[in-house]
Amino acid sequence: MPLRRTWIVGILSFVLHARGEDAVDYLRDVKPIFAARCYACHGALKQKAGLRLDTGEFIRRGAKDGPIIESELMRRITSSDTDERMPVEGEPLKPEQIRMIEAWLRTGAQSPAGEKPEPDPREHWAFKPPVRAEISGFGSRVSGSTNPKPNPIDSLIDGDLTPQPLADKPALLRRVSLDLIGLPPTRDELRAFLADDAPDAYDRAVDRLLHDPRHGERWARHWMDVWRYSDWYGRRLVPDVWNSAPQVWRWRDWIVRSLNAGKGYDRMVTEMLAADEIAPGDDESRVATGYLVRNWYALNPNQWMRDNVEHTAKAFLGLTFNCAHCHDHKYDPITQQDYFHLRAFFEPIYVRQDRVPGEADPGAYQDYDYSKLRKIVRTGMVSVFDKDAAAKTWFYTGGDERNRQTDRPPAQPAPPAFLGGEVRVEPVKLPLSVSFPGAKPFAREDETRAAEKAIANARAQLKTAEVALAAANEKFSVTLDESAAQDAELAMRLAQAALVAARAKRDSLKARVAADDVKFLGKPGDLAAVAKTAGESERALALAVAKVAAIEAERAVRAAKPDEKKKADAELANATKALAKAEDDAKKPATDYTPLSPTYPHESTGRRLALARWIASRKNPLTARVAVNHIWMRHFHTPLVASVYDFGRNGSPPTHPELLDWLAVEFMENGWSMKHLHRLIVTSAAYQRASMSPGRMEAEVVRDSMLHLAGKLDARMGGQELETAAMPGSNRRSLYFACYPEGGGSGEFTGVFDAPDPNDCYRRTQSIVPQQALALTNSKFVHDCSEAIARRLTGEGAEFITVAFEHLLTRPPKREETDACLAFLTKQPDPGRARESLIRALFNHHEFVTVR
């Protein structure tokens, strides 16, 4: 060891000499190494072995077992034994870092007096409640004079800025329209706005946009990014549903509706986590739990839980709880145990399917079975419910659920201690319509109506078959074609059997409903008797259905081509066998029957509601700040806290802490109203300035705006997601097209403009790539839109150019621009094509895809 040390020192003096420096500087050379590699375990967050390394004094003091500066520190960082070597994780320290530490120790481990230790992690700014700063005069210090309406945002942001003039009216209208409804103003809207001289013209425009139903669509897409909206996927081309659910689009429509209705953010968060507990029986709200359904992964429920934990923490709290899955968090005071406490809120859940009025019964939710494909069920709705109140949350090590520690008590639901706040988990009683949805009047009515309709259809078909048989018999007397007559005879028998089956279905339905009345609705009656009647009616129905199947099989045999004969014969044999069994069954007495729907627990644990209330609470220091930051970023193209899903100690500090806090408090004090916040932001001088940090239109906005300007945009809202392959031929808004993290999960056109990655889109990327240029010059879509616009717009020459600029870019052209366009138009041999080409050139103008 002494030898080795001499060697190290030798090198070191060479290094120092070469650098022209005399000594190691603790603050410059040593402390950053400890900070980067050691503080996580030996600093304010943790003091493993009783050791802190965050000040020179602490280092000299040593660990609980004794000092370290003599030899232990060097021994540990240079050890070749990986069990001994520090840091435990990651690569060993680099030789030059080791040399630096060694030199510092050798020269006496000096450090400046008064060195401050790392602050207590619980004192981190984001973990303290936001406090509203006092604003003197409630106005703008600098640009208040240019904003007719003083706005507190300006008071808080102007301090470090030189004043700027406000944007002109056209630029402002374009900006605020794109921001609030995701579409640029048309030329007519621009004209109307310019003609409005009233001082409150802008405020009224803002109000109009905030009340436009397209506002909900625009901001829904933003929140769908944050909340990771995804349509079903897994093996979409097979198809085989592994992730999310085919009815999850109802959650998307709920987002649009909720935003348009001005529902508070706190309420939205609560419904997404626990609509079934805060509003049991309210199906309109229950679809909000699509937020959790979206994370569903059929192959591995543990993964479902992991995603629920990770993304609830990231989306609502700005915390990277996922880092505590395998070990205690390296930066924030989140222990691995805390991770499992958070998970416990979700542990009892499962997915259910329910019918909705006017749609076929989706049936019970299909459990996972490797050998069966998971069918795409398109009717009804999906939501989560507490299936197993006794489900246990086992702690496991190493991020591998195979290492469950079943000898430890299971984790109970609890929020992390450092954020304080109590949760009271109280079970929620559920109404009958939830525990037995078959009791809902509409379900019975829909079924009855369908049964009656089926009878009417069967009757009509029987009539048709009778007429056909009569005709065939008449014809037979002339042609003696026995085969045709036999076919008609068989068709007749089939129609008769079908009518019997349709009636049996209605009768069975009546009997089941009667039994349900006694069994679930508390109507008087002998349950055993009504159950027996219902069960037997089901057997009678099964028999009638088997008869239909047997006749159909008989018909198939007659119609079979020679090469299909064998198969048809086999199927007939099967059908005959099934009929015999149904006949047997029908003779046996029944004791039970199938209720009109599956049944579910009468109670929910209340865990998720407790979590939701804790998150969407005025006392929670993170929730409002995180939401406000997301909203701010989408107006200004840049967030106040750059790490939008990490407000922890490893995240970025806010650029404007006072502003962030002021907005967070304002938000909470105004019912968590997003529209209030939007209005406050877009009426600030900061927002209305001439030079705003530019952003690029999101993929959806590029496409929607082009359709809108071409007068083609389809205003229909909502509904099942449309396949991206159908995008080129459709004029629906882009948010209604399938969005999932696999091939085909974004449109070909929107894909080149950074369509969202539904697995991770807390912040959209904005790229500039040649493929965008190709899409905007070559796609059939851009050619079609250009053609439509060229046809609609009036004027020739310079007049046309002005109209085109105003329509596409919301401003008149400058003289040089008119000149360039005129020269272009003149040069083109075909004036019609030239106009289209000019429109297309404006779509390709950087200004078109840019929001300034």
């Binding site: 897994g234 999960g745 080149v752 796609s779």
Partner: protein, 480 residues
């Protein structure tokens, strides 16, 4: 007090994914943290052809023959003189089912299935490979085989895993090609830097070319071997004349230049102007690169373009050569369709046919690269997502196939910076476990990056901490 423009630029620049890598680096737009497009140390290779065979070829019947299997065929593992591989702790340590334990249907197969093909020593180096590679047998002296690969997934998500380095249940990471794209500048601005040919054909394997948080500009660009429509939106609309489009592009350029006068500090605007110049040229360059007309008949034959069995693979590999010849950095090529090597049943028939489809084209590629001197600057990787079980697959009454096997498989490297004619690593005598530490799939990534002069750890971007396992360790034993 900061000038406002500076303030806004600081706020706005952080995330706007300005792409067109080298151009922006040249313009000094990108921030110091981003790579400068130059290798971080002296590179051995300029470009990569990454050949991926989807479905999992049997290491045993390709490049890692195991006569012991034939000898003990039909016996259970515990009846052989060797340690029973089923009892090895490596099972738990290296393997993780995506499906929860209660639904995972893949189990260990205890009955040894004999080798389905003969093998012999080939080349000067004497490496043993099977008889299904008559053409590749002539190239083994240029190849470094790595026989101790392992991965952690026993199902086909492993196809993404070999490209991204992450198991399906882990946080996903960008693909290797995307990291190369991110780390290195372009050598031909008129072509994409990261091209994908022939795949991935399945929606759930798109991760194999994805760039995720690096930004979509770094994702692989799938090209079709069809000069008429090789890339999306790559062909002028029929309504427009060639001259008309040229004029339109000129007008776009002119209008954007005028805007640049107004916004001299707008880096996005400059990037967009450049993107149009590139797009216009790309529209011509891509079809040119994928047009085989200039290739002689001999060359076309070398790749097997004259034969139905080898044509598809041959076209994709010939296109790969033409692309790297023109400066494309990373070509990820799928000579065969998704899952086609997956031989749960009828392994002999399937593998014989699949090998015959790629043997000649791959050998042709190596010959062609060599004779053009391109093998000195290109590294060729040949791989699959996992091996196949030494035991007979028994599911569904199986009697002639092997199941997925993540515990040991073989890949190979050839070309720039690679030691030619060597075998590195081994599986146990039954072809079950990769011996020693073996190599996890990211070791292949580290190897490729190292040859290109990149260190994955230095490519990491702030706020996106990667684990050690994401970086892997380069397989130094095969480096020249």
């Amino acid at each position: 007090m900061k000038p406002r423009r500076q303030f806004l630029a600081d706020l706005g620049m952080g995330f706007t994914g300005l792409s067109l890598g080298s151009m922006l680096f040249r313009d000094g737009v990108a921030r110091a943290a981003a790579p400068d497009g130059q290798p971080q140390f002296a590179p051995r290779a300029k470009s990569v052809i990454w050949i991926f065979l989807s479905g999992g070829y049997s290491h045993i019947e390709t490049f890692d023959p195991k006569p012991a299997l034939t000898k003990y065929g039909g016996m259970t593992f515990d009846k052989t003189p060797f340690e029973n591989p089923l009892n090895s702790p490596k099972h738990h340590a290296r393997f993780r089912s995506v499906a929860a334990e209660e639904v995972n249907v893949r189990n260990v197969y205890p009955t040894i299935y004999p080798m389905q093909v003969g093998f012999a020593k080939r080349g000067q180096c004497g490496v043993e490979i099977t008889d299904w590679w008559p053409h590749l047998a002539g190239c083994v002296d240029d190849i470094a085989f790595v026989r101790n690969m392992w991965t952690t997934d026993n199902d086909h998500f492993a196809e993404n895993q070999i490209h991204t380095g992450r198991h399906r249940l882990d946080e996903q990471q960008p693909s290797l090609g995307a990291w190369v794209h991110y780390g290195l500048g372009t050598m031909n601005e008129n072509l994409p830097k990261f091209v994908v040919l022939g795949g991935p054909t399945r929606s759930d394997t798109r991760l194999s070319l994805d760039s995720l948080y690096l930004g979509p500009q770094h994702a692989g660009v799938p090209l079709a071997i069809d000069p008429k429509s090789p890339l999306p939106f790559g062909v002028r609309d029929a309504r427009q004349s060639e001259a008309g489009q040229r004029d339109e592009y000129e007008l776009i350029g002119r209008l954007n230049q005028l805007a640049a006068v107004e916004y001299p500090a707008d880096a996005d605007l400059r990037a967009r102007i450049r993107s149009y110049e590139l797009a216009f040229r790309m529209q011509a360059s891509v079809p040119e690169a994928l047009d085989f007309k200039p290739e002689s008949e001999d060359v076309q034959k070398l790749y097997g373009l004259d034969n139905d069995a080898t044509r598809v693979a041959g076209q994709r590999l010939l296109a790969s050569r033409r692309l790297i010849e023109r400066g494309v950095r990373f070509v990820q090529v799928y000579p065969s369709a998704y899952g086609t090597w997956d031989s749960h049943q009828k392994l002999q028939e399937k593998h014989a046919q699949m090998c015959a489809g790629v043997d000649k084209p791959v050998a042709g590629l190596l010959h062609d690269l060599k004779q053009r001197g391109l093998l000195e600057e290109t590294v060729v990787v040949f791989c699959t997502e996992f091996g196949r079980t030494p035991g007979l697959e028994l599911r569904n009454g199986g009697k002639d196939g092997r199941d997925h096997h993540p515990h040991g498989f073989t890949v190979w490297f050839a070309g720039a910076g690679i030691k030619p004619g060597i075998v590195h690593g081994e599986t146990d005598e039954l072809g079950y476990h990769a011996l020693g530490d073996g190599h996890y799939v990211t070791d292949m990534h580290a190897t490729v990056l190292r040859l290109l002069g990149l260190d994955g750890r230095r490519l990491e971007i702030p706020g996106r901490k990667r684990l050690d396992v994401d970086h892997g360790r380069s397989i130094d034993a095969i480096l020249a």
